[in-house]
């Protein structure tokens, strides 16, 4: 099963290699990984998408917790959360497909961020399914390349239900 794991880590050199080393050394798989600073510049947040059975995920979470530079480990599966990913798609449509490409971009709430004599570059954000769906639709129209950022995730605010 796939899990999205969010990590708060010390913003020090070598942290990324400690984490990637843990995954490779123990034969776990990283499907995507993204890193960025948090509001506190000494702390970074990492979002890792990985998969494995229950026992493997438990080990991954424990092993990550054990790494000295990791401050907090959250398995997003336990939380109500929002996930997003961004993709940049460079597409070279035939003349007759150009309108359709732009229409699809619009439907998926994407934007054209660069356009040249032969290609459009489209930016779209969304969850995984949405991005996969768009790529699927654009494929026959001549995708040259695309780049995905990898998933980022954030927990929703917890709202206390009013007691009746």
């Amino acid at each position: 099963m796939r899990h999205t794991i969010s990590l708060l880590v010390e913003n020090k050199f070598g942290v990324l290699s400690r984490i990637s080393g843990l995954f490779s050394g123990r034969g776990y798989n990283i499907e995507s990984l993204s890193v960025g600073e948090t509001i506190d510049p000494q702390i970074s947040v990492m979002t890792i998408v990985t998969s494995g059975d229950e026992q493997i995920i438990e080990q991954i979470l424990k092993q990550l917790n054990k790494l000295i530079d990791i401050i907090k480990v959250v398995d997003m599966i336990d939380l109500d959360h929002v996930e997003r990913e961004m993709v940049l798609i460079k597409i070279a449509p035939r003349q007759e497909d150009k309108a359709e490409v732009l229409r699809l971009t619009d439907i998926f709430r994407g934007r054209v961020v660069d356009s040249g004599p032969k290609t459009y570059t489209i930016e779209v954000t969304g969850d995984e399914k949405k991005i996969a769906a768009l790529i699927e639709l654009l494929k026959p129209m001549g995708i040259k390349e695309f780049i995905r950022t990898g998933k980022i995730a954030i927990a929703r605010e917890r709202i206390k239900k009013p007691s009746v």
């Binding site: 880590v9 010390e10 290699s17 400690r18 080393g21 438990e58 424990k62 092993q63 000295i68």
Partner: protein, 578 residues
């Protein structure tokens, strides 16, 4: 006060109470070594190889409980420490290893004697540091010792660039260590402990499995109390030997691949395993699906990753073994006043019957020295009051089987990594820490040659380490596997004519060499060696055909054991296993 980095380094070690360290000089650490020339507070023991330095620090740490300290140079000096560090890491031994590094501005330039030791050692250290600013040095040393010795202990490496040791900074010794991302759990969950107590009260056939964690957390007293108040027999893993008295009526010896018949049978038949500070290593469990099929498992360990890594666990308790056992004993005494004796009677009787059925044994010979006989004699003559280190292989297993350890920190062996060449330098480290104790390395003729250069270290420092070489002219354990599983095709395990004359080697280094070739000579040689206050090599020319039994073939359940018996029977059993 302003000091340069080298001075800060020395001052920090003093603050940590370091008296001894092991090391080897080189270009980038000359500044530090220059200070050690006159320093009276810290003694550096020069080994003859950096690997020897790390093993010596490891033996020092295991026998004292304090962190062992190593100082080596950059590049090859640093890479030579890797086997020693990995050995300590696998067995959770606290070490602080300082490696020199090329000046900061040259890092990454493939400079002379440069190695990315922080990168190389990352997977086999608990943590490692590269000191980039001399102002961080004192704090890093403090943190390194704290990380190495707290929680589940382990080796920590500090990489010291040459320029950092030369520039000056104010010496500020941090009073406290606080690392926000590192807070090991020490106290066990009270509810879980109560659960464990109830499981113990309900069980009819419980077994305690004690591992190295018992020794690391100094929990022997609490473990003994637990076993005695509840009448539960205790199995000790290779790393746990000495954690519970080996001569105690409840002691069942070692389980697993070369464990005793009764230890393995007890585990397989038990209805409750209380695992303390052990991690269900594959050498202990054998075939995992067939391991302790009827048992509920209580697992006490300070490292949450050890729990449910290999086996299912019913009651996990994360924390320090000593504290958890103390609470568990209290709960058992106060809340559950069972009449244990009655309940256990049948179980203990059954175990007694297994002990009688298949005791640990070997066939004595008048003609040729049996290696087990040498270990037995060592035990007899030292009355169990010696620090024993071993190499890896048959020598290690026979020592574990035939020497009974009543006290912790008397047994130094590379359990996890299985490092040949560990025992002799480890014995040197232990001897340095315990100048008045008898320290014996039980070695094989293969292993001893892996760090034999440390003879010089032992002799020059007047360390009266005794080395008992069980010389069978083979890489015995591998040969045993070749005999049993590879149709006696002894590929590259026969050392025979190339085994050197150990007596002459000892003498060449200024140590004493003795030899026994007949069983009747074993005791006199040992007695003489123990009398001499110098380093002694004892060459015991033993029966090369001897094998370690019982043996659980790799991949089999731990009650599918092979014993010393006729070859045909062994082969039949093997086929059945496959």
């Amino acid at each position: 006060m302003k000091m340069n980095g080298a001075e800060i380094f020395i001052e920090s070690l003093k603050r940590e109470g370091v008296k001894h360290m092991f090391g080897y000089p080189g270009g980038v650490v000359l500044g530090i070594f220059d200070l050690l020339y006159e320093n009276k507070d810290i003694e550096l023991i020069l080994t003859r190889h950096e690997q020897g330095a790390v093993h010596a620090a490891d033996g020092y740490a295991r026998s004292t409980g304090k962190a062992g300290v190593v100082l080596v140079t950059s590049g090859p000096g640093a890479t030579n420490t890797v086997t020693g560090i990995a050995t300590a890491s696998m067995d959770s031994i606290p070490l602080v290893v300082f490696t020199g590094q090329v000046p900061t501005m040259l890092i990454g330039n493939d400079a002379f004697q440069e190695a990315d030791i922080v990168g190389i050692s990352r997977p086999c250290t608990k943590y490692n540091f590269l000191v980039k600013d001399v102002n961080d040095l004192a704090r890093i040393v403090r943190e390194a010792f704290y990380i190495a010795t707290s929680g589940r202990p382990g080796p920590v490496l500090i990489d010291l660039p040459k320029d950092v040791t030369a520039v000056k900074a104010e010496f500020v010794w941090p009073q406290d260590v606080k690392i926000r991302s590192y807070n090991p759990t020490l106290e066990g969950n009270k509810w879980m402990i109560t659960q464990a107590a109830h499981l113990i009260a309900k069980s009819k056939r419980p077994v305690i499995v004690a591992g190295g964690g018992v020794i690391l957390s100094n929990a022997s007293k609490e473990l003994k109390e637990l076993a005695e108040i509840t009448d539960i027999p205790v199995v000790m893993t290779l790393m746990g030997l000495g954690g519970f008295p080996g001569t105690h009526p409840l002691a069942l010896g070692m389980p697993g691949m070369h464990g005793s018949y009764y230890a393995n049978r007890s585990i397989q038949e038990s209805d409750l395993l209380i695992a303390v500070g052990m991690r269900f290593d594959d050498r202990v469990t054998g075939k995992i699906d067939a391991f302790a099929p009827h048992a509920k498992i209580v697992h006490i360990d300070i490292d949450p990753t050890s729990i449910r890594k290999n086996v299912r666990v019913d009651t996990p308790i994360v924390g320090d073994a000593k504290r958890i056992l103390a609470v568990l004993n209290k709960v058992l005494k106060e809340e559950l006043k069972e009449q244990w004796g009655e309940v256990r009677n049948a179980w203990l009787k059954q175990i007694q019957a297994w002990k009688k059925e298949r005791p640990l044994t070997y066939t004595y010979s008048e003609e040729v020295i049996k290696p087990q006989f040498v270990v037995e004699k060592i035990y007899e003559l030292t009355k169990g009051d010696a620090i024993i280190s071993t190499e890896v292989g048959q020598n290690q297993m026979w020592s574990a089987q035939f020497y009974k350890f009543d006290k912790p920190r008397m047994w130094l062996t590379s359990g996890g990594l299985g490092t040949m060449g560990y025992g002799f330098p480890a014995a040197i480290g232990a001897q340095l820490a315990h100048p008045n104790k008898l320290v014996i390395d039980i070695a094989g003729d293969g292993s001893i040659q892996m760090n034999i250069q440390e003879l010089a270290t032992a002799v020059i420092n007047k360390l009266p380490v005794k080395v008992a070489i069980l010389n069978n002219r083979y890489l015995g354990m591998v040969r045993q596997w070749q005999e049993l599983f590879f149709s006696e095709r002894y590929s590259h395990t026969k050392l025979d004519e190339t085994v050197p004359d150990f007596v002459k080697i000892a003498e060449a280094y200024g140590a004493v060499g003795l030899r026994a070739t007949k069983p009747s000579e074993v005791e006199p040689v040992l007695r003489e060696a123990f009398k001499i206050k110098r380093t002694v090599f004892m060459d015991f020319v033993v029966d090369w055909k001897e094998k370690v039994f019982p043996m659980v073939p790799a991949g089999a359940a731990i009650d599918q054991m092979m014993f010393e018996e006729k070859k045909e029977t062994t082969e039949k059993k093997l086929k059945a296993v496959k």
